[in-house]
């Protein structure tokens, strides 16, 4: 059987033109997807049943036992952390928010270590953006700033920018200019028309300089800014101003360096400045296929996109205080539920040391680094493969992922709903 128009649950591009060939409940071939997506569709090393850590060995338990364990753990905690959420569907994320509200815990998603700083910037100055198709059809200038789509979003270039056809571009490949700004000469940089190499930590200064140059205040700018010659900055500013439609796509090169969200704020303010001259937009290269969905769900249900603390009943938001890395490193939680992410692989070691000290339950299809810190792990279906549900693309377009094969694994939503029901029952008693 071939499933057409399947939706790839890997990165924020959320490509929905994938063909998946299934035989005997196994994926045997994947067409159209990039290497990242193909490997995910073909992944096979699933955990077979829920496991419980018993001293220094693992023991299989039933789903009922595992769900009960999680419910008891969350109910007895004074400040449980519910973390992850980017690797699951929106319907499960909604249950997660209800759970956090009920047990008065902290709910945070992977954006705190990804594009959380971008969100903080947007909260200061807003976000002039657009859907990917607007760029594909119109943009004659695309800037990748601190992002490396060839490695992280392999089809971004072919579906939306460099190699995409566009309604208003006669010869898109020729008519569309690409600028790459980075500290490394990545593969993406090598296909650019212009590469701007910045000294590490210099993005903010370069962005400020460009803002001034766009306003015509070139005199104040020193001869070089963070390793970039003033002449190149002027050339880039002119390319931007003379474009009919410019689009900036930025990545973790801006969110993870010194200044963090202030870098993105500065980039947004540059785009707002350019909007006085021509059409310009800016967007984040969101990583997980549904990290944006997690932000959306949290926002309509709690008012905030990530890092929400319900300890006091009402929602409190303060990234840097209510975000997972800070809470774990400061040992400020006493239980953790992990869904759809792998903090042990992606968090600094100090956070892991605290995970080792507190009860941890994880929902994940695969054994991963976090498994090592779990008291209980519950294997679930993979959204987009054996579970369906809503995901939000990096530009906010919601797409329903398809189920391409059937397994006996329950979905995240099913498992979480059972936990939630148990907890409500216990609290109402």
């Amino acid at each position: 059987m071939i499933v057409k128009d399947a939706v790839c649950p890997f990165c924020g591009c959320l490509c929905d033109d994938i063909e998946v060939e299934v035989e005997d409940d196994r994926v045997v071939a994947v067409t159209n997807a990039c290497e990242l997506g193909t490997t995910k569709f073909m992944g096979e090393k699933r955990m077979k049943s829920p496991i419980l850590r018993d001293g220094d060995r693992w023991k299989d338990i039933t789903y009922d036992e595992a769900v009960q364990y999680a419910a008891d753990m969350l109910l007895s905690a004074e400040r449980p952390l519910l973390y992850g959420w980017s690797g699951t569907h929106g319907e499960a994320q909604c249950v997660g928010v209800h759970m956090a509200e009920l047990v008065r815990g902290v709910i945070d998603n992977t954006s705190s270590v990804c594009h959380g700083p971008s969100i903080l910037a947007i909260q200061e100055v807003g976000h002039p953006g657009c859907t990917l198709g607007v760029v594909k059809n119109r943009a004659d200038l695309v800037i990748y700033w601190g992002s490396n789509p060839i490695d992280a979003h392999p089809r971004h270039l072919s579906r939306y920018t460099r190699y995409a056809e566009g309604f208003f571009l006669e010869n898109a490949f020729r008519d569309r200019k690409v600028i790459v700004v980075d500290v490394r000469k990545t593969e993406t940089a090598s296909i650019a028309d212009e590469f701007v190499r910045i000294k590490p930590g210099g993005d903010y200064a370069v962005l400020s300089a460009l803002r001034a140059i766009v306003q015509g205040k070139t005199d104040t700018i020193p001869r070089t800014v963070a390793g970039v010659a003033r002449e190149q900055l002027i050339r880039v500013a002119n390319l931007c101003k003379s474009a009919k439609f410019g689009a900036v796509y930025f990545g973790l090169g801006l969110t993870m360096t010194r200044g963090k969200y202030k870098n993105i704020r500065n980039a947004i303010e540059l785009v707002s400045e350019l909007s006085r001259h021509t059409k310009f937009t800016i967007s984040a290269m969101r990583g997980h296929y549904n990290v944006y969905g997690s932000n959306e769900v949290n926002t309509w249900m709690t008012g905030y996109p990530f890092g929400i603390d319900y300890s006091r009943g009402i929602a409190f938001y303060n990234p840097g205080e209510t975000t997972a890395v800070d809470i774990l490193a400061r040992k400020e939680c006493d239980a953790a539920l992990i869904v759809g992410s792998d903090p042990a692989a992606h968090f600094p070691r100090k956070c892991l040391e605290h995970l080792a000290d507190i009860p941890v339950v994880q929902l994940d299809p695969y054994p991963n680094a976090t498994t090592a810190f779990c008291n209980v792990q519950i294997p679930v279906a993979v959204t987009g493969i054996d579970a369906e549900g809503t995901a939000y693309r990096m530009d906010g377009v919601p797409i329903r992922t398809r189920k391409v094969l059937s397994t006996d694994y329950p979905s995240d939503r099913e498992v979480l709903s059972r936990m939630y029901a148990l907890m409500r029952e216990a609290l109402e008693r």
């Binding site: 959380g116 490396n148 500290v183 890092g307 990234p319 840097g320 692989a345 054994p367």
Partner: protein, 129 residues
Amino acid sequence: MTFLMITGRTVNQGVTVENKTSAEYAAETSTCFMHEFDMLELGLDDGDTIRVTGPCGEVVMRASASVEVETGTVFVPYGPYANHIVAAGTRSTGMPDFKSHDVEIEPTDEEPKTVYELMEDLGGLAYDR
């Protein structure tokens, strides 16, 4: 020698990220991409093991020459190896300094640990079924 360590995504990291118990994932995320001049200076060949010491400890990785990084800078794919030495401070933004750590690099005879060995060092328990 002191280097600026930058971490980030790579295709191979992405391809192996859903299979963290695999040797391929460990190999990719324990690779330290360096400028070949820096490797010459440290007397390193491609694939040699190095000890990388950061603000929060040390970890053994393998050096690999790359044309993408400048001298004085190294690039390590996101994962448990880099995170073994990354500091958890976020400057109150929620986000650690994943791309701006100073590290010391020296040659070593030790072999990189497996992912689960790293986790066990921090109080975890390997799952190997």
